[in-house]
């Protein structure tokens, strides 16, 4: 047959740099452009704002420390959302899972604080992982076994988690000597070491959980692309029927991916509470779980992309506070606008620029090869 003559070459392969660098960059640019317009509307200069933002995020060592501290949270939640995405699941519940993880960390730091630090750290980490994972397990189980839509259940679980946290802080863990709904401070022997304890840099909240986040990123890469468990998760995410055909249990992997996801989200508690706040407070999750969605989307569910996206959002958080300080009409909510726009362009509107960019690349590539040939 003339099988060989059938054209396969036609859909020219789009190289990685277009997919993983150019397109996210253009989406980011679009988001920044709209943000710039908003800044113009409220009567400030977008150019100055951008300068302040960048300086505020990277301009001096202290800023870098803060940026990386925020980045740490975004790596945790970005990885959390990404592992669920790989399994075809949309985990909107990272926020609630982080809250539960924080409760786990706090319980260890409050009630097992007689243990030495080298024991408290793994113990608290395990608690964070278990609490976060347990909070993800229920929606996962309901999705896997009873078909309840995980998007809705995880949304509901965020609210339930918030109620639990409030209840614990108001009724149970509240510091008897304090007024506000906060636990007592953890004793110093349970605190995570800061970066400035080891290296010469100004005092910032950056602590060793940043390193832990990087280690987890490497582990994430290995798990997803280089183990049979990651393979199974991806098969389930791409095609559940094929998974059943191959003897891969969708429900088992849905639960596995979500449990990993919840554990990863739970680690926010390590960085925030054990690392910085040193007590359990309300709203310490600060929207990191939601922004994790943006991080995973921008990072295209790959640890390197996630790191870069997390760095971007970390810079936005840190630079944003500087922005609110420096510019007259901008306050820190402006950063939330930028975040939302990034989610919009790199997530919901991802198909807006992509076909055009790919077509442009194809035209460019074909003329190049034509000239070369």
């Amino acid at each position: 047959m003339t099988e060989g003559s059938v054209k396969f070459a036609a859909p020219l392969k789009i190289p990685g740099w277009v997919n993983y660098a150019l397109i996210p960059f253009i989406n980011l640019l679009a988001a920044l452009l709209i943000s710039g317009i908003v800044i113009l509307i409220i009567g400030d200069s977008p150019i100055v704002a951008l300068k302040v933002l960048i300086y505020g995020a990277f301009g001096y060592p202290e800023a870098v420390g803060y940026t990386l501290y925020y980045t740490t949270n975004f790596i945790f939640t970005g990885l959390a959302v990404a592992i669920a995405f790989h399994c075809g699941l949309f985990n909107i519940g990272a926020e609630g899972q982080a809250a539960l993880g924080g409760i786990g960390v706090s319980l260890v730091c409050l009630y097992f604080d007689n243990l030495p630090l080298w024991l408290v750290i793994p113990f608290a980490m395990t608690a964070a992982a278990i609490f976060g994972a347990a909070w993800a397990y229920i929606p996962a189980y309901l999705q896997a076994k009873r078909g309840s839509h995980i998007v809705i259940t995880t949304i509901m679980f965020n609210f339930i988690a918030a109620s639990i946290l409030t209840y614990l802080l108001v009724e149970v863990l509240i510091d008897p000597n304090g007024q506000s709904p906060e636990s007592r401070h953890f004793i110093e022997s349970t605190w995570l070491p800061y970066f400035h304890d080891f290296i010469a840099m100004p005092s910032t909240p950056l602590n060793i959980s940043f390193v832990y986040a990087l280690v987890l990123s490497a582990g994430f890469y290995f798990l997803v692309w280089h183990t049979r468990w990651g393979y199974e998760i991806r098969v389930v995410g791409q095609n559940e029927t094929a998974a059943r055909y191959a003897g891969i249990s969708p429900s088992k992997n849905i639960i596995l991916a979500m449990v990993i996801s919840g554990a990863l989200a739970g680690f926010v508690g390590i960085n925030e509470l054990q690392g910085v706040q040193h007590r359990l407070i309300l709203d310490f999750t600060g929207g990191y779980g939601f922004v994790g969605i943006a991080v995973a989307l921008m990072g295209r569910n790959h640890p390197i992309g996630i790191f870069l996206a997390a760095l971007l959002f970390g810079a936005l958080y840190q630079g944003g506070s500087e922005l609110a300080f420096e510019m007259k009409s901008i306050n820190k909510e402006m950063v939330i606008v930028i975040q939302g726009l990034i989610i919009l362009f790199s997530g919901a509107l991802e198909h807006m620029f992509r076909p055009k960019i790919e077509a442009a690349y194809r035209r460019f590539a074909t003329t190049q090869t034509a000239e070369a040939g």
């Binding site: 259940t153 509901m156 989307l297 306050n331 606008v337």
Partner: protein, 323 residues
């Protein structure tokens, strides 16, 4: 008489809390029955609340404010449509993005325009919807039970509360008895059937989403110009998600959705009353538990422990002509 009085007060509070829920849930119904997931109800309400309060403050008219609130909400709905219908984007992500953008944008603009820490000026006079005393309310007030209920519970709400009450039968009629409703339901179940019947799927979904925007706009305006007197940052406080939960709890049907909204609103009213009150047998019920109750109930429903929810079949899937 005391218990009766308390019940009336509870129900009165229930109506006030339920109003935005009913409107937003009905809004969500049009979107979701047309096959578009809408977790952006929250953002649309918040946007409308801000626009309504800002414009009412400037114009001095609650009605102009309401118009602005509706327009703002429709604009956000169209953005959702542009992302999910035109560009086949992920509907959950789009809703999420809208929620976040609005959560940031409203205080940003509020801060810039009114310099009141992200709030709008306090609304008074005609800039706010006032309670309406229904005819004869005064006269029948002293007639036991019925007259009292009429005067205390039915009368004395602002116009939007009555609007919400009327919206339920109207929306039910639109959904089940009109051409538009038939097409909305069809496009959410099987868009291919709609397409081959010569109706544009995309345009249908755009229209449904505009209705969503319209209703959500009223819901949001209610918060800032009727229930409250001005915009406060994050004033929706999860009501959009609660409305979504009510919609699911009501199985995407108007009347059951109304009852879900009333139930959720009632728990809210009860919770305010029960704070610290010792009940027989159970003792003090933590407020947080009652606050979480609607969400717990919805999860139980979704899990199939309380009835079974059958969502519109093609919900969440962008329509792509197969080749």
């Amino acid at each position: 008489m005391e218990t009766f009085h308390i019940i009336i007060l509870l129900l009165d509070a229930t109506f006030r809390v339920a109003t935005p829920l009913v409107l937003a849930a009905l809004a969500g119904m049009f979107s979701e029955r047309a096959g578009v997931v809408d977790i952006g109800l929250e953002g649309k309400m918040l946007g409308a609340a801000f626009a309504a309060a800002a414009v009412a403050a400037v114009s001095g008219s609650a009605w102009v404010g309401l118009g602005a609130g509706i327009l703002a909400s429709i604009a956000l709905s169209l953005l959702h449509a542009y992302a999910c219908v035109t560009h086949k984007g992920n509907q959950v992500v789009s809703g999420m993005a809208i929620n976040i953008v609005v959560a940031g944008l409203t205080p940003t603009l509020g801060y810039a325009w009114f310099s009141m820490g992200g709030q709008t000026p306090h609304l008074g006079g005609d800039a706010r919807f006032k309670s309406i005393t229904l005819p004869f309310a005064e006269a029948v007030h002293d007639i036991p039970v019925i007259g009292y209920i009429y005067a205390e519970l039915i009368s004395n709400h602002n116009i939007i509360v009555y609007l919400a009450a009327a919206a339920v039968p109207i929306c039910a009629w639109i959904l089940y008895k009109t051409r538009f409703g038939l097409r909305v339901r069809a496009v959410g179940e099987n868009p291919h059937a709609v397409d081959t019947a010569g109706i544009s799927v995309d345009w249908m979904r755009y229209k449904a989403l505009m209705v969503t925007g319209f209703l959500c706009g009223i819901a949001g305006s209610y918060l800032s110009t009727a229930h409250g007197a001005g915009f406060i940052r994050d004033m929706t406080a999860g009501k959009g998600y609660l409305a979504l939960a009510a919609l699911i709890f009501g199985k995407w049907r108007p009347v059951p959705t109304l009852f879900a909204c009333l139930l959720f609103a009632f728990t809210d009213a009860v919770q305010a009353r029960l704070q610290g009150v010792e009940l027989p047998i159970v003792g003090v019920i933590p407020v947080q538990f009652i606050q979480a109750l609607p969400y717990i109930l919805t999860v139980l429903l979704l899990a199939g422990f309380v009835g079974k929810a059958n969502p519109p079949k093609s919900i969440g899937e962008p329509y792509i002509k197969e080749r």
